[in-house]
């Protein structure tokens, strides 16, 4: 039995989420191949993941833009050789995996957080307020993996790389117009060791920049935000942490001026250590925080910056 992992990559290397998905694949089967679609240069990094049997690459215009129609067509073309097709639950994975499952007329398991056995998985429902254990039937299935729940497969492999032909989807497909990628020198939110997030309390984009970003930079952290902060335009949309935004599980999560709605908690409650700074002692975020500081952020954040300075940060 073999499993195909469709990689998450940035065109140059595969992301950590890919090695974590390989961990899940190896728990299902011993033969694991990784497909790097639309970014062959990243194949070398995929080949280094331990336990990978081979790396496949494919190129087409649609794949280059991660279009669901192209990824689905390629997945369909390769599916015959695999019992399961896995991909990280990123915006790309969530976009094409259900399409592929429907084309193959097979089961989809969204957002795996635990492997019970090769056919049985745990996934969060109701914003993580319940965990569902599901078993897939006989035959092939497609799944997305919540990478934050798994350790990355180690490095040290040397899998062969093989190009497979891909043609653009022949049916009716969406076409790429443009994209706006937010460039940042900070770590990527989904994989960061430390995340500093700001909420509605910040009150403006200027204040968000002035308060949250320097604190993040001092800690070498990625920046996140609540939905309220994103909706109000204080932070870009891809900063949103939560049920419908990104799921993070860093070693340290610092929530500044965030109340702790269940939809926000869904995206960060598996962080190792949670710090909350909020002036309302009754804010729900304090119920899950390891260290709660009841204070106005306007005082607390500068104090925190000064204290970090003292320890050489």
């Amino acid at each position: 039995m073999a499993v195909l992992v469709i990689a998450d990559h940035d065109g140059a290397t595969v992301r950590d989420t890919t090695a974590k998905t390989v961990t899940v694949a190896l728990a299902i089967a011993s033969d694991v191949d990784v497909l790097v679609a639309g970014g062959s240069a990243a194949a070398a990094s995929a080949a280094k993941i331990s336990g990978v049997r081979k790396v496949l690459t494919a190129e087409s215009t649609g794949l280059g833009h991660n279009l669901a129609e192209a990824l689905t067509a390629l997945g369909e073309q390769l599916a015959g050789g695999y019992e399961a097709i896995l991909t990280p639950a990123t915006s790309v994975g969530k976009n094409f995996a259900p399409r592929l499952a429907a084309k193959l007329d097979v089961a989809l398991v969204s957002d795996i957080i635990e492997v019970v056995d090769a056919k049985t998985f745990v996934r969060p429902i109701y914003a993580g307020n319940a965990l569902e254990t599901v078993k897939v039937g006989e035959g092939r299935f497609v799944a997305t993996v919540r990478a934050t729940a798994f350790k990355a497969a180690s490095e040290g492999g040397a899998a062969p790389i093989e190009a497979v032909p891909a043609s653009d989807a022949t049916g009716r497909a969406a076409s790429f117009v443009s994209e706006e990628v937010v460039k940042s020198d900070r770590p990527e939110l989904a994989g960061a060791k430390i995340v500093v997030s700001g909420g509605r309390a910040l009150g403006s984009a200027e204040e968000f920049h002035r308060v949250i970003e320097p604190l993040a930079d001092k800690l070498g952290a990625a920046v996140g935000a609540s939905r309220a902060a994103v909706d109000a335009g204080y932070a870009p949309n891809d900063y949103q942490v939560g049920q419908t935004g990104k799921v993070v599980a860093p070693d340290l999560y610092v929530a500044v001026g965030i109340s702790g709605a269940i939809q926000h908690l869904a995206g960060m409650k598996d962080s190792k250590i949670i710090v909350a700074i909020n002036k309302d002692a009754d804010a729900p975020i304090f119920q899950i925080a390891d260290y709660g500081l009841v204070a106005d952020y306007k005082v607390a954040v500068p104090d925190l910056m000064a204290e970090l300075e003292k320890i050489g940060k």
């Binding site: 689905t72 969530k94 969204s110 319940a130 965990l131 937010v182 119920q287």
Partner: protein, 249 residues
């Protein structure tokens, strides 16, 4: 152009969910139910398209129990024209829902199917993509902006890292993200008017679609409780604990 909007009745997003002691599911008895928040957004978008003269008719469809009529009424009060209820007490998987919707698309021939990106009960985020696959239509998920001109939709999507713009020739499937719009509250006169709008009720069997589940739910459990609630006195106290107790900085 006709727009089809699938809406799901789900537990209200403000309700604190409780898992049943026998681990067979979540307790829905006497719990407030509402329209899935993303479906309010897609309904709102459809109504705006009608107000702009782009959409000619809005058909809302729900697959669920008899009470899902209330959900349809909410959408009708927001401005949809008529409703379809495919009645079932089974909680169908996304693939089964997509197959039923495909059958409805065959009857209704909409130019656009506008769904929510995710139902907040199962959190699957799948039906729109699956419907697009079954129809072989172009898809644009996680939409934060939709512009329609002639038979082309230009959709801005929220993706990891930023935004992506796609062009789709209609008919197509689009799923709504949070920032697409802010749904209106239905006015009292519109709620009254909605009572007279038609809802067609049909059994699943009418569609001759295989809705058998592909997954067996073995159990639904409560997530491990997080120990929290400790407070620190000051920023200095916080930094010292992060460094010496937690060892994370």
């Amino acid at each position: 152009m006709k727009v089809l909007v699938p809406v799901k009745r789900v537990i209200d997003y403000n309700v604190k969910v409780r898992v049943k002691p026998d681990q067979t599911g979540v307790d829905l008895a006497n719990v407030k139910m509402s329209m899935n928040p993303f479906d309010e957004i897609s309904t709102e978008e459809a109504v705006r398209l009608k107000e702009k003269g782009v959409a000619s008719e809005i058909v809302v469809i729900s697959i669920g129990p008899a009470q899902a009529q209330e959900t349809l009424r909410t959408a009708l009060a927001m401005g949809a024209d008529r409703g379809i209820l495919i009645q079932t007490d089974q909680d169908l998987e996304p693939l089964a829902v997509a197959k039923l919707l495909k059958a409805v698309v065959a009857e209704e021939a909409p130019g656009l199917v506008l769904l929510g990106k995710q139902a907040i009960d199962g959190d699957n985020n799948a039906v729109g993509q699956m419907l697009a696959a079954l129809l072989d239509w172009p898809q644009a998920t996680f939409a934060s902006k939709i512009e329609i001109s002639g038979d082309t939709a230009t959709v801005t999507r929220e993706v990891d890292g930023g935004l992506q713009v796609l062009s789709l020739s209609l008919p197509a499937v689009v799923t709504a993200d949070l920032r697409l719009n802010e749904p209106r509250y239905a006015s009292l006169p519109n709620i009254m008017k909605a009572k007279k709008k038609p809802i067609d009720i049909k059994p699943v069997a009418d569609y001759g679609v295989d809705v058998a589940p592909r997954l067996t739910v073995l159990k639904v459990a409560e997530p491990p409780k997080r120990q929290g609630g400790a407070k620190v006195e000051s920023a200095a106290d916080l930094v010292s604990k992060l460094k010496n107790e937690a060892g994370v900085i």
